[in-house]
């Protein structure tokens, strides 16, 4: 009998007597033998840490059995982001640790072949080539592209080296437009984790935000509580998302017209005088110019753009006014949709301001954080920050370097010439549009260093590949974000690194030594570093290793005296800053371009069991969702003669053909759009599970509009037609 079947009939009989004798709420059900894999199995131990399967960074308890194998990951009870609960991706995180396709050893390119080498040799090679690059072209010729918690160590190393060019696709290919729009309006970003008090909102509007498929644990926890309490929800999405399924109003808006809807709501609040007058009078500037700019935008006009019934627009607008500061227009996260995204999210921000929910319960909370000190090091070598300045010449409010711009600049060989890339944890061939151009750039580099856990396509172009230990095998920097309660969480190794993989901190430290940068690393071991940082907050590493998370008491995260770090010190409904730069100070609607006949607009999103391409090779998670499918409306499917499960190819407006993808025929999407989950369609045999499963949307994103304000690249501006034969 396997341990799975934990009760024998004999045991049952004896237990029944025990039950009868006991009035306890939980009867003494005793399994005949331990259940294998259960956290109750003898010898099972838990280590506190935090997750890295996505960027939310939930507290986790990682369970190891007596043989030392990680068999379970559960939510850490004392961590404010997980509250003892966990999303499916985090639960299946050991699939990354035990991924048989992991990079096992450092590798050097030798002509056309790879050679596995020792760390000594790999780091020696890297340092030598970096020094040579510095001698030949200057340290600023080396660019750094990163994502994830370990990035801090790599960035520190590169700054000490003298590099000045840093980029992350999480900016121009994700949340950049939102952050810039919120900065312009409120003088502060929407945060990560977002500072949205979803739990206490009484009325919510989601624009494309698909919580539930987008499994940011805490947001989903709060969302479910809000739904359970009967919070009215408006979901604006061309697709009937899971969130839409819970909404009082689902508005299957014509894609690309959200701004028209937002403008109509703003005008309605002003016309009917239902905006939050005390908040606006006290905290906002530019009401009258805003009012004037909104004149054309009636609900009837919005109907002509969005296809949404003006009566419904009015009804929702009135409810927004009624709920006021406890109504929340969710800021979204990945907001690079159409190339005019900063202005759309500006409208989201302005509408929230008219509700007066900044700092308010049920709106954007005023969070707390533990300010941990840094480990003192000498100042970094001065740099020109030349590429930042160049990027701002194109996009005046680009407060980071858009990664596609770094690529284009590198390929063009423009001054300052970029000759080398240090890439950490960034899946560049699947997240930057125009893959061919990215490949051409990779070919042109004198030095490409790739640090990753998995042999992603990018590693194939590298000069040196450094295998990183997974988040379950390493220390990382502390995590102490702004949240409802101030806290600091620790990531610590649960098991020794498998194979010959190493943590980012170790690589940075070792390269620092080889590059003669010891002064910037006044520590040899990361534990010293962490201890030094914790000491600044009166904490100890031993304590945090034991508890996982340290949470401090704080007053409720609300304020009626919010401060705004804008030029005027107020919420800028009308942006003088945008005006001075020649942009619309109040968002102006421009209709999106239309699909050619026979084409669908291609939309992308997320699934609850995957974090983009990071998890598609995770066999634990892949069991539930091994590939993405193409959502096609039932009427459209009939017209195109498509059957459910049929494999098709997509061809975009520029003639680019996708790899095969299976059709999901559904009522849950507008007939003029198709949809797929991002992250699939791996194209490397080295990732054996993911290879060839599903399709990569990034291959089809060749028509890109760039946000003129901050440089984000659009995704939803591509159109596809469906080729019924999947064969080549």
């Amino acid at each position: 009998m396997s341990a799975k079947h934990a009760f024998s009939r004999r045991t049952f009989l004896s237990l029944s007597a025990a039950v009868a004798a006991s009035a306890a709420a939980w009867p003494a059900l005793r399994p005949a033998r331990p259940v294998r894999g259960s956290i109750l199995e003898p010898g099972m131990t838990a280590t506190h840490s935090f997750c890295e399967i996505c960027f939310w960074k939930c507290g986790i308890d990682v369970w190891k059995n007596a043989e030392g194998r990680v068999v379970q990951i559960t939510g850490q009870a004392g961590h404010p982001l997980s509250n003892g609960r966990l999303c499916p991706r985090g639960t299946g995180g050991m699939g990354q640790l035990y991924d048989p396709d992991r990079i096992r050893q450092p590798m050097l390119r030798r002509g056309d072949t790879w050679q596995t080498v020792s760390w000594d040799e790999a780091l020696g090679f890297t340092a030598e080539r970096m020094q040579a690059l510095k001698a030949r072209h200057g340290a600023e010729s080396m660019a750094t592209i990163t994502h994830g918690t370990g990035a801090g160590f790599i960035r520190h190393l590169m700054q000490a080296y003298g590099a000045s060019t840093f980029s992350a696709p999480s900016y121009a290919q994700c949340r950049g437009p939102r952050d810039v729009a919120f900065e312009l309006t409120f003088g502060a970003g929407a945060g990560s984790p977002e500072i949205t008090d979803i739990e206490n909102a009484t009325f919510m509007v989601f624009l494309g935000t698909h919580l539930g498929e987008n499994m940011h644990n805490t947001q989903v926890q709060e969302f479910a509580r809000a739904v359970g309490r009967g919070t009215e929800l408006v979901v604006v999405d061309p697709r009937f998302s899971v969130a839409a399924g819970k909404a009082r109003y689902w508005l299957p808006i014509k894609p690309g017209t959200d701004l028209a809807l937002l403008l109509a709501w703003m005008r309605l609040l002003l016309d009917e005088g239902t905006y939050n007058k005390p908040f606006v009078e006290r905290h906002c500037v530019g009401l009258e110019p805003l009012r004037a700019a909104l004149t054309p935008y009636t609900p009837e006009w919005a109907y002509t753009q969005t296809g949404i019934d003006p009566a419904v627009i009015r009804e929702i607008g009135r409810k927004l006014g009624m709920h006021g500061p406890t109504a929340l227009i969710h800021p979204g996260r990945r907001t690079n949709w159409y190339g005019d995204d900063t202005q759309r999210v500006r409208a989201v921000a302005i509408l929230n301001a008219l509700l007066g929910n900044w700092g308010h319960r049920g709106g954007f909370f005023s969070g707390h954080r533990i300010n941990l000190g840094k480990v003192a090091t000498p100042p970094y070598p001065p740099t020109r920050k030349a590429l930042d300045a160049l990027a701002r010449r194109h996009w005046p409010l680009a407060d980071e370097i858009p990664t596609q711009f770094l690529r284009d600049h590198t390929l063009a060989g423009d001054d300052p010439a970029i000759k080398g890339w240090m890439v950490y944890g960034t899946d560049l061939l699947n997240n930057i549009p125009d893959k061919d151009k990215t490949i051409a750039t990779l070919k042109s580099l004198e030095l490409l260093v790739v640090i990753d856990v998995l042999p992603i396509e990018l590693t194939g172009w590298a000069d040196v590949v450094l295998p990183e230990a997974t988040y379950l095998e390493r220390y990382d920097d502390l995590h102490a974000p702004t949240w409802k309660v101030p806290y600091v969480a620790l990531r610590q190794p649960v098991v020794e690194p498998l194979y010959d993989s190493k943590p980012a901190w170790w690589m940075a430290r070792q390269l620092g030594r080889r590059l003669g940068l010891d002064a910037w690393f006044p520590w040899n071991d990361v534990e010293e570093y962490l201890q030094a940082r914790l000491r600044t907050a009166g904490l100890s590493l031993a304590e945090l290793r034991r508890d996982g998370t340290h949470v401090q008491q704080a007053p409720p995260p609300y304020t009626d005296a919010p401060r705004f770090n804008t030029p005027s010190g107020k919420v800028e409904l009308f942006s003088t800053r945008l005006k001075a730069l020649g942009f619309d100070p109040v968002p102006v609607f421009t209709p999106p371009s239309e699909a050619p006949p026979g084409f669908f607009r291609l939309l992308i999103g997320r699934a609850p069991v995957h974090s983009f391409g990071r998890t598609t090779n995770n066999r634990v998670l892949g069991e539930l969702m091994p590939e993405n499918v193409l959502w096609v409306n039932a009427i459209a499917a009939r017209e195109f003669g498509l059957a459910p499960g049929q494999a098709v190819r997509l061809v975009n407006q520029d003639g680019v053909r996708s790899r095969p993808i299976k059709v999901k025929v559904t009522e849950r999407i507008r007939p003029d759009c198709v949809y797929m989950v991002h992250g699939f369609g791996r194209d490397t045999e080295k990732m054996a599970f993911a290879n060839g499963r599903g399709t990569a949307d990034n291959d089809l994103l060749t028509r890109v509009h760039t946000d003129p304000i901050m440089g984000a690249t659009s995704t939803n501006t591509n159109f596809v037609t469906i080729e019924r034969k999947a064969s080549a």
């Binding site: 039950v19 059900l29 399994p31 259960s38 499994m215 479910a224 359970g228 009427i635 009522e667």
Partner: protein, 181 residues
């Protein structure tokens, strides 16, 4: 008077997002082999575009009060455990699949070892005063487990105050999964 313990699950479908965390948690806690699951998510969509409704349901064995699987089992492997939990004794199971044929909820599967397996309500955890793994992990807290006969318990309160339904009640199986509206 002492009342018998009656373990039930009350599920708030309105909260469920169908994410599948319950499936992974169960598979790990019970070492369920690849290709099998003791719980799963059903997503039911009604209507035609654009008038639609959706329900997500985290499904599992219904631990029926009148369990057809137990009645159908020729060896006594399928049996009712304490608290009304329906269990399978792998030692006694011959893998004849009579229970699978009898179960109207499709809750059972045959493992590669040839014996039948299914949800146990994590009886081993319940014995220690813990919730089943699926209940513990759920980010939406849509799953509630407990003794329906404990008048002070959470599920008794939910069942007393919330409208609910059960599945395939016409079959007379008296399922113990309650779907709260």
């Amino acid at each position: 008077m002492f009342k018998k313990i009656r373990y039930v699950m009350a599920i708030e479908t309105a909260k469920c997002v169908g994410c599948g965390a319950c499936v992974f948690a169960c598979k790990q806690e019970n070492d369920v082999p690849v290709g099998f699951a003791r719980d799963w998510v059903e997503q039911e969509v009604h209507g035609t575009y654009p008038v639609l409704s959706m329900e997500n349901r985290s499904q599992r064995c219904q631990h029926c009060d009148r369990p057809p699987c137990v009645y159908a089992c020729p060896t006594g492997a399928s049996h009712v455990g304490p608290g009304g939990i329906t269990l399978v004794d792998g030692d006694l199971c011959t893998g004849c699949k009579a229970c699978i044929a009898a179960c109207p909820y499709d809750a059972r599967y045959v493992t590669s070892r040839g014996v039948v397996d299914k949800c146990t309500f994590c009886a081993h955890r319940v014995a220690q005063g813990m919730e089943p793994a699926c209940v513990a992990v759920c980010p939406t807290s849509c799953l509630h487990f407990g003794d329906a006969n404990d008048p002070n318990g959470e599920v008794a309160g939910l069942l007393a105050t919330r409208r609910h339904r059960r599945q395939k009640t016409h079959l007379g199986t008296e399922p113990q999964l309650y779907w709260l509206d």
